[in-house]
C-alpha cells in the first residue's frame, strides 16, 4: 500500500486512540480501514486508496470459468411488503425514521452505490433506505426507511461504518447515524440548506474520528465538504470548493464574488485518503451555470479539480484543475486512485483520475505537482491545447452556440461516477471509455448566463466505438482497449473491480456481467444479468470468495460452487 511502512504504523497507532471512548466490541475500528482490501469491504472503495483492488485470489484467471450464482435477492424500498425483500424470505418490519411526511420511491429499490461487508453482514442503500443483509444468503436482517421532506432522489452511493455505527446521507440533506446491529437510529443532523435546493447522494467516508460528508446542488449554489464528529454529529469543519469571501484563494479566476458564490463545484462522489500526509483527496463538480460560461469568465477555481484537504483542519493543501472553465456539465467528481508508482526511475506517491471530459491525469499526491495529462476519450474534441501546467485549454468554440456545436463526449461524459480501478500487479488503471457525439445548442443567449443546467438543448447524433480501457498511469497511454461490439455505441455499465486473481469484473454494453483478463482485456466469464447499476465488489465468508453486484433492485452474489 505504501513504501513507508513505518509511517503507516505510526498513523494507525494515532488513529486507534480514537477507540478510547470504549463502546466494547467494535465491528469496525477506524484504524482497520487503513489495511489493504481483502476479506471485508468496510468503506466506499473497499479501502482508502480508491484502487478497488482486492487481495483475494480464490477466483482467478483459471478458476473464474467456474463462477456461478450463490444467491440473488431483490430489495423493496419503503415500508411496504412487510419489510421483506422479495425473494429474500421476507424480513422484519421496516424501522421508520425521518423528519418529513413522505415515502419516496416505494417499490423496487435502485442500488447505485457501494455495499459494505463487515463481519459477514452487508449494508446496502438506496435513497432514504438502508438494509442489513446476511452476506451468506442475502437474507434481510433489518431495513431502515427515512420519511423525506422531498429533494432529488437520484441515487445514494452507500453508507459508512465507524465502530458499531452506520452513517448515510438523505436527499433532504440529513446525515443519519444508525446502530449497525439493530438498524435503530442514533441521531440525525442537517448538513445543508434544503431551501437552497441542496440534495445529498454521496457515501460518507470515515477517517479516524471524522465523518467526511459531501453534498450536491443543481441551482448555482456553492459546493462544500464537511467533517462531522461520529459520536455526536457535531460539525468539525466545512471546506467550500469556491471562493466565498473577499481575499479567498481562487477569486481571481471569477469575474466577481457573486459569480464565485454561485459557482457550484459540488462534492458529489467520495474521495480517497493518504494516511502519510493526512490528506483527503477528492474531485469537484462542474461550475455553474453549467452550459453558459458568459457570466463566469475565468478558470473558475476550484471547480472541476482534484482537491486535497487536510483531514483534521479542512484546509486545502493543493489542487489541480482537470477541467478549466468547464461549459459542458462534465464534473470531475470521479473517485481518484492513489498509486505508489515509479516515474523516471524514482518512487513517487501519486494520484490518478480519469475525468468525465475524456482526459486522464496523474499528479503528485503530496505536492499536487503535475505528472501526466493524456486524452483517453479518443473522440473528445473540446480542447484547444495543453498549458505548460498540464491543464487542458478548452476551445471556446466548442461551447454551446445558437447554430450548434458538435461535441464529444456527450453530457454524460466519457466516464462518470461509476468508479475506475487500478491493479498494482499490472500497473494499469481501468476505466470505461464511452465515445459519443451530440450537438449542443445555446437556447438562452442572455448575457447574464442561464442558471443550473439550463440554457441549452442537446441532440445525440451518433457514436464512436466504446471500450474498456487500460491506461498506463506513468504515460497516460492505453496499454489495451477492449472494444464493445455493436453499432449503437453503448459502453460498458457500472464500475470496475480488480483483483489479485488477475481478473477485472464489470458490465459490458449488452447486459452481461463480465470477468476480463486484467493483462489483456480478454473476456474470461460472463452472465447476462442486466445492466449493472453499481460497482462490483468481492469479499470472503467461510473461506469462500464472493463477487457481489447490483442490477437495479437485484443483488447477485457469485462464487465458485
Amino acid at each position: 500500500m505504501t513504501n513507508r511502512p513505518l509511517t503507516i504504523v505510526a498513523s494507525a497507532l494515532a488513529l486507534s486512540t480514537v477507540l478510547v471512548s470504549g463502546q466494547g466490541q467494535s465491528l469496525v475500528d477506524p484504524a482497520s480501514l487503513l489495511k489493504p482490501l481483502a476479506e471485508s469491504w468496510p468503506t466506499y472503495s473497499g479501502d482508502y486508496t480508491g484502487r478497488r483492488f482486492s487481495a483475494l485470489k480464490q477466483i482467478n484467471k483459471t478458476t473464474v470459468k467456474n463462477l456461478s450464482l450463490a444467491w440473488v435477492v431483490r430489495l423493496t424500498a419503503g415500508p411496504g411488503g412487510g419489510g421483506g425483500g422479495r425473494g429474500g424470505g421476507g424480513g422484519p418490519e421496516a424501522i421508520m425514521g425521518g423528519v418529513g411526511t413522505e415515502i419516496a420511491g416505494a417499490g423496487p429499490a435502485n442500488v447505485k452505490g457501494a455495499i459494505l461487508m463487515v463481519n459477514d453482514v452487508l449494508y446496502v442503500s438506496s435513497p432514504d433506505n438502508v438494509w442489513a443483509l446476511d452476506a451468506r444468503d442475502g437474507r434481510e436482517l433489518w431495513h431502515y426507511v427515512w420519511r423525506t421532506r422531498g429533494g432529488t432522489h437520484i441515487g445514494n452511493r452507500g453508507v459508512a461504518i465507524w465502530n458499531n455505527y452506520l452513517f448515510f446521507e438523505t436527499p433532504d440533506d440529513y446525515l443519519v447515524s444508525l446502530d449497525a446491529k439493530t438498524g435503530k437510529e442514533r441521531w440525525h443532523v442537517e448538513i445543508a440548506d434544503f431551501d437552497e435546493q441542496y440534495f445529498s447522494t454521496p457515501a460518507p467516508i470515515i477517517v479516524g474520528n471524522h465523518v467526511l460528508v459531501g453534498t450536491g446542488n443543481d441551482l448555482d449554489m456553492p459546493g462544500f465538504l464537511q467533517s462531522f464528529d461520529p459520536e455526536t454529529g457535531k460539525l468539525q469543519w466545512k471546506f467550500y470548493t469556491v471562493p466565498m469571501n473577499p481575499g479567498d484563494p481562487g477569486l481571481d479566476t471569477w469575474p466577481n464574488l457573486d459569480a464565485a458564490r454561485h459557482g457550484g463545484g459540488q462534492v458529489w462522489v467520495p474521495g480517497v485518503y493518504d494516511p502519510d500526509t493526512r490528506l483527503y483527496i477528492f474531485g469537484t463538480g462542474n461550475p455553474t451555470p453549467g452550459y453558459t460560461g458568459v457570466a463566469r469568465k475565468g478558470d473558475n477555481l476550484f471547480t472541476c479539480s482534484l482537491v486535497a484537504v487536510h483531514v483534521d483542519t479542512g484546509k486545502m493543501a493543493w489542487y489541480f484543475q482537470t477541467s478549466a472553465h468547464d461549459t459542458h456539465d462534465w464534473d470531475s467528481a470521479q473517485t481518484p486512485i492513489l498509486i505508489d508508482g515509479v516515474i523516471n526511475g524514482k518512487p513517487r506517491k501519486l494520484v490518478s483520475t480519469a475525468s468525465r471530459n475524456g482526459y486522464f491525469y496523474t499528479v503528485d499526491r503530496v505536492s499536487g505537482e503535475h505528472v501526466v495529462t493524456s486524452k483517453f476519450g479518443t473522440a473528445s474534441n473540446w480542447a484547444k491545447g495543453l498549458r505548460p501546467t498540464g491543464v487542458v485549454e478548452p476551445n471556446p468554440e466548442k461551447e454551446a452556440t445558437i447554430p450548434g456545436s458538435l461535441v464529444s463526449p456527450v453530457e454524460g461524459g466519457v466516464t462518470n461516477w461509476p468508479p475506475a480501478a487500478y491493479s498494482p500487479d499490472t500497473g494499469l488503471f481501468y476505466v470505461h471509455e464511452r465515445n459519443g457525439f451530440n450537438i449542443v445548442y445555446l437556447t438562452d443567449p442572455d448575457p447574464r448566463g442561464s442558471m443550473g443546467l439550463g440554457g441549452k438543448t442537446t441532440s445525440g447524433v451518433g457514436s464512436a466505438p466504446s471500450y474498456l480501457t487500460a491506461i498506463d498511469y506513468k504515460t497516460g497511454k492505453a496499454a489495451w482497449r477492449h472494444q464493445f461490439p455493436g453499432v449503437t455505441g453503448g459502453g460498458g455499465s457500472g464500475g470496475i473491480l480488480a483483483t489479485a486473481g488477475g481478473v477485472l469484473f464489470t458490465g459490458d454494453a449488452g447486459g452481461n456481467f463480465v470477468a476480463f483478463d486484467a493483462n489483456t482485456g480478454k473476456p474470461l466469464w460472463h452472465s447476462r444479468i442486466g445492466g449493472i447499476s453499481n460497482a462490483p465488489e468481492t469479499y470472503l465468508v467461510d473461506g469462500l470468495q464472493y463477487v457481489l453486484v447490483a442490477v437495479g433492485d437485484a443483488l447477485f452474489a457469485f462464487r465458485l460452487n
Partner: protein, 308 residues
C-alpha cells in the same frame, strides 16, 4: 387543503423518482443495454419538484398580481423583469438564499424595509411587502428542473448561419457518393422545415439519439425510406454456411438476427468465431463525426435547407 397538498407532493415525488431513475435497467429484448448515465442524472430531467420553493402553497392570485405590479415599480430596475438580475446590478433572486428561504415575507420583508448594500430602504406597508414576496415565490415555484430558470418568452434563434454555396461544395465532396439533392434528398427541407431538426437529422443520418439527447428528429424515416438504415449481419458458420439477416444485438458472447422470412436466430460467439460481418449504413456518418468542423456542419445545413 392540506391532505390534498400532501398527496400531490407524494405523487410528484413518485414521478420525480420515476423520471430520474438513472440506473441502467435490464437491457431491452434484442437491443443494446442502455448506457449508464449521469453522476447525478446528467440529462435526467429531474423535475426539481421536490424542493421547498416548489412545494409551498401559492398565495391568492390577486395578491400575486398586486405583488407583481409593486415589483415592476420598485424592484425590476435592479433585479430584472425575470428576477434574474437587472441592469442596475441587483442580484438574481431566483438563486438567492434569502428568497429561497422565504415562506411569507419573513426573509424578504426585512430587506425590503431596511435595504441592504446599495439597495435603499422602502416604506411600503406590510401587506405590500408580503405581496411582493408572494410574487417572488410564485416565480420561484415555476423554476424548471436541474436549476433551470422558468421558461421565458420564446426567443427566435437563427440556426441557419452557414454558407449554402460552401455547403453545396462540401456535400459534393463528402456526401454525394450516397446521397443526391435531386434524388433521396429531394424536398428534404419541406419534409423537415425546422433547421435544428434538419441539422440533427442529417448529422446523425437519421440514426437517432445514441447517447445524450433527443434523436435525429421527426421525419427521419420519411426522409430515408423504410429499410435504408437497417443494420444487417452475415454469420459465416464453420461449415461455410452463411446466415444473413437484420442485426438484433451483438456482444462478445452472442449475435442475434432476424432473417428475411422473420425467423429469429442467435449464435454463440467464441472470440473471432463464427465470422461476423456487419453492414451499418450509418458507418460513413459516424466516421464523419470525427471530421466535420462546426463551420462545415453549418454550411451543409444551410445548403440542405435550400432543398425545398
Amino acid at each position: 387543503m392540506r391532505p390534498l397538498l400532501v398527496s400531490l407532493l407524494g405523487l410528484m415525488l413518485a414521478l420525480a423518482v420515476r423520471v430520474t431513475a438513472q440506473g441502467p435497467p435490464p437491457p431491452p429484448p434484442g437491443g443494446q443495454a442502455p448506457p449508464v448515465q449521469g453522476g447525478r442524472g446528467a440529462g435526467g430531467g429531474q423535475g426539481g419538484r421536490g424542493f421547498p420553493a416548489q412545494q409551498r402553497p401559492l398565495a391568492d392570485p390577486a395578491v400575486i398580481a398586486r405583488g407583481k405590479t409593486l415589483y415592476e415599480i420598485s424592484c425590476r430596475a435592479c433585479h430584472g423583469g425575470d428576477l434574474r438580475g437587472g441592469d442596475l446590478g441587483g442580484p438574481n433572486l431566483l438563486r438567492s438564499p434569502i428568497a429561497l428561504n422565504d415562506n411569507d415575507g419573513e426573509s424578504i420583508g426585512p430587506i425590503v424595509r431596511t435595504g441592504r448594500g446599495d439597495m435603499p430602504p422602502s416604506n411600503l406597508p406590510e401587506e405590500s411587502v408580503k405581496a411582493i414576496a408572494a410574487y417572488i415565490r410564485s416565480i420561484l415555484a415555476s423554476a424548471r428542473g436541474q436549476g433551470s430558470p422558468p421558461a421565458g418568452p420564446r426567443v427566435e434563434l437563427n440556426v441557419l448561419v452557414g454558407d449554402a454555396a460552401a455547403g453545396r461544395a462540401y456535400f459534393a465532396t463528402h456526401c454525394s457518393s450516397c446521397h443526391s439533392p435531386t434524388g433521396d434528398l429531394s424536398g428534404l427541407a419541406q419534409r423537415v422545415p425546422d433547421p435544428m431538426a434538419l441539422q440533427n437529422l442529417w448529422v446523425s443520418g437519421g440514426g437517432g439519439g445514441g447517447r445524450g439527447g433527443r434523436g435525429g428528429g421527426a421525419g427521419a424515416a420519411a426522409a430515408a425510406g423504410p429499410n435504408r438504415r437497417e443494420v444487417t449481419v452475415t454469420v459465416t458458420l464453420a461449415s461455410g454456411e452463411k446466415v444473413e439477416g437484420r442485426l438484433g444485438r451483438i456482444d462478445d458472447f452472442i449475435v442475434t438476427l432476424t432473417q428475411s422470412d422473420g425467423t429469429a436466430r442467435s449464435f454463440r460467439r467464441d472470440g473471432d468465431l463464427p465470422r461476423i460481418d456487419i453492414r451499418d449504413p450509418l458507418e460513413a456518418h459516424k466516421k464523419l463525426l470525427l471530421v466535420y468542423t462546426d463551420t462545415d456542419m453549418h454550411n451543409v445545413t444551410a445548403f440542405l435547407a435550400t432543398l425545398k
